[in-house]
Symmetry: C2
Subunit: 168 residues, 2 copies
Amino acid sequence: MQKTSYEGMQCPIARSLERVGEWWSMLILRETLFGFTRFYELEENLGIAPNMLSRRLNALVEAGMLEKCAYTTRPIRYEYKPTDRARDFADVLLALLSFGNRHFAPEGKSVTVIHDETGIEAVPVMVDARTGIPLASPAYRWVAGPLASQSTRERYATDRRLGSSGLA
Amino acid sequence: MQKTSYEGMQCPIARSLERVGEWWSMLILRETLFGFTRFYELEENLGIAPNMLSRRLNALVEAGMLEKCAYTTRPIRYEYKPTDRARDFADVLLALLSFGNRHFAPEGKSVTVIHDETGIEAVPVMVDARTGIPLASPAYRWVAGPLASQSTRERYATDRRLGSSGLA
DNA sequence: CAGTATCCTGTCCGATACTG
DNA sequence: CAGTATCGGACAGGATACTG
């Protein structure tokens, strides 16, 4: 996760990773989204060293993912509230959760998402909100816009789809 | 991304990151899903050093994300085909792409996903395939299963939902 | 072309000690 | 409690040279 490796990258995936790609950042974001916003809560829940926590929190504030708010004065104490941008990151966490449950949970799932009313476990999938169709299907194509680099545009000149098994 | 930090972690998100959390791994997976499966293609497309590429490829094979297949003999040459597990990872990449486009694309989006028939840009969202309802909504709850650790179960004893703004 | 071998640097991360 | 300061280790990642 070196600065040099992604500096100037135009790929949106790389850009996302640039801001929140560190290992702890994702887990910190998850905790804050669940309402654990104080230093000691994060420290306890995650078992993270205080210096690392401090560093990551500052980076996340810098990236516009967390907002540093005083929740008490004398002494001054801050909590780290997720911004809209962080809330927007929830889908990434859900995707990772789902993937982990499906593939790296040999002894069973430890955490799942359920429909509150029915209690039935959700089947997470990325879809187009406009059509309801899964994005990882041949009905969807990745395209490079005019702002993409020349090389990127070349690579996306041919059809680039997920979900089509005979792609290669 | 040290081994020590996530060894023995039971959180599915941490588990996912454990296998594919490295910066390059995600981008390599994206390329292979688009059909770029040869060493030189990946080297060119990503601008990655050959030793790093070799290291990451072996790790991804080890993690069951890529399959090493000879595509020619004399001399023996291998390509790295994405497994079903890797295809299952597409949603994570889509989530990262979407997030990056929405929040870290100041000069505009470089790569987007479009509906092939209509050419209309997709609006990616994680939903429950069973109901079509977005998972980052109050209708869904995160719960700890019996296999979660004691501390995890305690943390999820109270309602843990995304999407409810007044959570904290 | 498809890698491997070596060396180097940055930095993530952990452990610990310290301060208001 | 909420951090900061400092130290050290492990490793991702880069650069380069080399082999079949």
